[in-house]
């Protein structure tokens, strides 16, 4: 039973769908961040798998940069979230209507 590239792409898609469902379902901003991490990880699997089956290292490079972006996103996002929580005491998306959008 051979594991092919399609197996990995299907797995990546399933994980991406789980992440998307999380993004659409969650109202708490911290839970929303978790769902974004799942999205980034799903694409990382796809990049690593393609890198392995094509025999090219570029996929792994892109996965590295995605990990770096995820780390900086968490740092900035959590900082903003803490400031918002200090000011309002809530981290729900529905409360963020100060721009009356």
């Amino acid at each position: 039973m051979e594991i092919t590239l399609s197996h990995y792409l299907v797995l990546s898609t399933i994980l991406f769908a789980i992440g998307l469902i999380g993004v659409m379902r969650r109202k708490n901003l911290l839970m929303l961040f978790f769902a974004t991490e799942i999205l980034l990880n799903a694409t990382n699997i796809a990049f690593a798998a393609i890198s392995h089956y094509i025999g090219d290292l570029s996929g792994q490079m892109f996965a590295f940069f995605i990990i770096a972006i995820a780390a900086s996103e968490v740092a900035i996002g959590l900082g903003l979230l803490i400031v918002w929580y200090k000011r309002t005491g809530k981290i729900d998306l529905d409360q963020m209507n100060s721009m009356r959008g």
């Binding site: 039973m1 051979e2 594991i3 590239l5 197996h7 792409l9 797995l11 990546s12 898609t13 399933i14 994980l15 991406f16 769908a17 789980i18 992440g19 998307l20 469902i21 999380g22 659409m24 379902r25 969650r26 109202k27 708490n28 911290l30 839970m31 978790f34 769902a35 991490e37 799942i38 990880n41 694409t43 798998a49 393609i50 890198s51 392995h52 094509i54 025999g55 090219d56 290292l57 570029s58 792994q60 490079m61 590295f64 940069f65 990990i67 770096a68 972006i69 780390a71 900086s72 996103e73 740092a75 900035i76 959590l78 900082g79 803490i82 400031v83 929580y85 200090k86 000011r87 729900d92």
Partner: protein
């Protein structure tokens, strides 16, 4: 054979863990399931021969990112249940599946059309970490340095945002007090 067993085992575990992360109403369950899922994902990288990426996944995601989330959760009220959006589940399901199929099309299209060829082929007799280092510090040197600058900016931004006026609680102050505090804080360095 063992590769297939490992793939299906870790695929099932990862999907279960991430489903728990997305579906649970407890923030602590979500963060622990998320950390477990990250470690299981690193197993795929080891199966695929990307050893360095797997190690980075464990160190950065379960070491740094999850610790940062746990640190952030100490600021928030995590004991109460998370309230969810009341959206139509059918719309959510259809949109999720549609977007996922689009992602598969994006990834499969270049392979099907056979346009893809290895620009930086994996060399024989060289370990994965060594090969990654050789490509990263030649072809991808500029993005690497940019990523370093980006991480530095993110670190400074995180420190300034989270550590600003830690000795006073902004929640317990009125809007006017916060406004006057910002004014008294600004002109110390001679303005901008």
């Amino acid at each position: 054979m063992f590769e297939a067993i490992a793939f299906y085992l870790f695929a099932a575990l990862t999907i279960v863990m991430f489903t728990i992360t997305v579906m649970t109403s407890q923030a602590l369950y979500a963060i622990t399931a998320m950390a477990a899922g990250m470690i299981f994902i690193s197993a795929f990288f080891f199966i695929l021969g990307a050893d360095f990426l797997g190690a980075i996944q464990i160190i950065v995601y379960t070491g740094a990112v999850m610790a940062l989330y746990a640190f952030g959760m100490m600021f928030f009220d995590t004991t109460r249940d998370v309230v969810e959006k009341r959206t139509n589940p059918q719309i959510v399901f259809v949109l999720g599946v549609l977007a996922a199929v689009m992602v598969v099309a994006i990834f499969v299209a270049p392979i099907v059309s056979n346009n893809i060829q290895a620009l930086y082929p994996i060399q024989e007799g060289v370990g994965n970490s060594q090969a990654v280092g050789m490509v990263l510090f030649t072809k991808y040197l500029v993005p690497f340095e940019l990523a370093a600058v980006m991480l530095l900016v993110a670190m400074i931004g995180g420190i300034i945002l989270a550590g600003k006026k830690m000795d006073r609680s902004l929640t317990l102050m009125a809007e006017e007090e916060i406004g006057s505090m910002d004014e008294s804080f600004e002109p110390q360095e001679g303005g901008h």
